[in-house]
């Protein structure tokens, strides 16, 4: 499964979840594009009590909010690593149960 985002053709708003009308300009014309892989951690938690099957090995496992460097799209992801806010991360190809999985990347300026 390729992870994608939706870009409003009228005003350029980018959203993760598809929707009928653009909340910014009410246009209904969207283009699907690949979700940029690289981003930074905006918020992070180590989950010790999981609701159902853990998305990766654990619990505990990491759940975070990531903002992509390109496009500034926010998405939620799981990780097997312990992350902190500001860490550079990238989407991992190692698909486990979690549809969005990230790993830490070397620090970028």
């Amino acid at each position: 499964m390729m992870l994608t985002v939706w870009r409003c053709q009228a005003c350029g708003t980018v959203r993760l979840c598809g929707r009928r009308l653009c909340p910014e300009c009410s246009s209904g014309r969207w283009l699907e594009a690949a979700l940029p892989s690289a981003g930074r951690v905006l918020a992070v938690t180590r989950v010790h009590i999981a609701p159902a099957e853990a998305p990766v090995v654990g619990p505990p496992f990491t759940l975070c909010l990531v903002k992509t460097d390109v496009g500034g799209v926010q998405f939620m992801a799981a990780s097997e690593e312990e992350l902190t806010i500001g860490d550079a991360v990238a989407l991992s190809c190692d698909r486990q149960a979690a549809p969005y999985l990230v790993t830490r990347q070397p620090a970028r300026p």
Binding site: R15, L16, C17, L42, A43, V44, T45, R46, V47, H48, I49, A50, P51, A52, A54, P55, V56, P59, P60, F61, L63, C64, L65, K67, Q74, F75, M76, A77, A78, I85, A97, A98, P99, Y100, L101
Partner: protein, 377 residues
């Protein structure tokens, strides 16, 4: 005009074998007795959802069991904001002339009526089923994400949040019917098991059984001060955390609070009731609703601002964190408590302003309702 005619609240906790409807009936009976109204006088009915007893027609199910034949009835569902949302709608019905006496009721055996895992799984559906839940999302985890960003942004620590759990427990310790009443200290919160960092178990509300009811009326009530709903505001800007910008995540609360205060023309309050599903919820909503500067809610708490005898008593029954959380009724308990305290202020002729502000959120700061309550003389 819409006045608060009566309120009812059951004890919260493990109330087996009471069913959801049993708890609704008990709370409604209390509220009607408090309002000194008969069943025949109730012509409007609003009933909140129950996750442990889902139903297509919760208002009709309740009406039949209670013996009501209202001219208007509706089931309502906007998560944790449902209780205040129903009160807002009841006021609208009264002002539009569609009803004179509206009963708002909710009750759920959320604790004893289902397994803890089922309750958590149901609540996880607040998250996006494609983009969030499969990554291991849950309600505590979403609020933990908010908490991590909040603490990082303002350079605060876990004990700043823990202080809210301590205050709520202190309030519950003197409240009959509260689910948890044994006083706790900040160290107890920090030492409780981690749920989703930085939130520990005592940063999270319990799952409780309980019921609550409120009657709104077009007529001046005979009991105590005439408490009128003078302002209301709502905002529904997103459903999922992934669909909003983290920096603007509390914007709905700001909008709703502003709308309610503006309509009421009132900015001075003697009491406040703020939704507190987690300690972070309380800190963020206090700031968004204008009762603390950004990042300053815990500092204000330490200064005594929100204590029972302080300038702005907050959730004096113990809130969701300690009185308990039985779903929709949990979010109504803040209003029931506020009404009772305002009546007491009047009876004791206290110096406090006879006005209160209430706010509740549903989802992940997704649905917001604010109300202003003022005594009319």
């Amino acid at each position: 005009m819409a006045f608060v005619a009566g309120v009812g609240l059951t004890a919260f906790g493990d109330l087996a074998p009471a069913t959801s409807v049993d708890l609704q009936l008990e709370a409604a009976e209390q509220a009607l007795a408090d309002a000194n109204l008969s069943q025949a006088e109730i012509d409007g009915l609003l009933v909140g959802y129950s996750t442990s007893a889902p139903h297509l027609m919760p208002a009709n199910r309740f009406a039949e069991r209670f013996g009501l034949r209202p001219a208007f009835a509706q089931g309502v569902s906007v998560g944790g904001a449902t209780g205040l949302s129903m009160v807002d709608l009841a006021r609208t019905l009264i002002r539009a002339g569609r009803a004179r006496n509206v009963l708002v009721v909710a009750g759920e055996n959320r604790r004893s009526g289902q397994s803890r895992a089922t309750a958590r799984q149901t609540l996880a559906e607040v998250g996006d089923p494609v983009h969030e839940v499969p990554n291991g999302g849950s309600v505590p985890a979403y609020y933990a994400l908010l908490a991590s960003a909040y603490l990082h942004r303002y350079g605060l620590r876990e004990d700043d949040l823990a202080a809210f759990a301590v205050l709520m427990r202190h309030n519950a310790s003197v409240t009959t019917g509260a689910h948890f009443r044994k006083p706790i200290a900040i160290g107890d919160v920090l030492a409780s098991p981690a749920v989703a960092t930085p939130l520990n178990r005592l940063d999270c509300c319990p799952i409780s059984d309980g019921g609550a009811a409120i009657v709104l009326s077009a007529d001046l009530p005979g009991n105590g001060p005439a408490l009128e709903i003078t302002g209301a505001g709502q905002a529904h800007l997103h459903q999922h955390l992934s669909a909003t910008d983290l920096e603007d995540v509390a914007a709905g609360a700001v909008q709703a609070a502003m709308a309610a205060k503006t309509e009421a023309g009132c900015g001075t309050f003697g009491r406040i009731g703020i939704y507190d599903s987690f300690t972070i919820t309380l800190a963020m909503l206090l700031e968004a609703c204008g009762f603390a500067a950004p990042g300053r809610a815990s500092a204000q708490l330490r200064d005594g601002c929100f204590e029972r005898d302080g300038p702005l008593p907050l959730n004096t029954h113990g809130g969701l964190l300690s009185y308990g959380h039985s779903g929709v009724a949990g979010g109504m308990a803040h209003m029931v408590e506020t009404v009772r305290q305002l009546r007491k202020d009047e009876a004791e002729n206290s110096d406090r302003p006879r006005s209160a502000f209430l706010h509740a959120d549903g989802g992940v700061l997704s649905a917001h309702v604010s109300l202003v309550l003022e005594a009319r003389r």
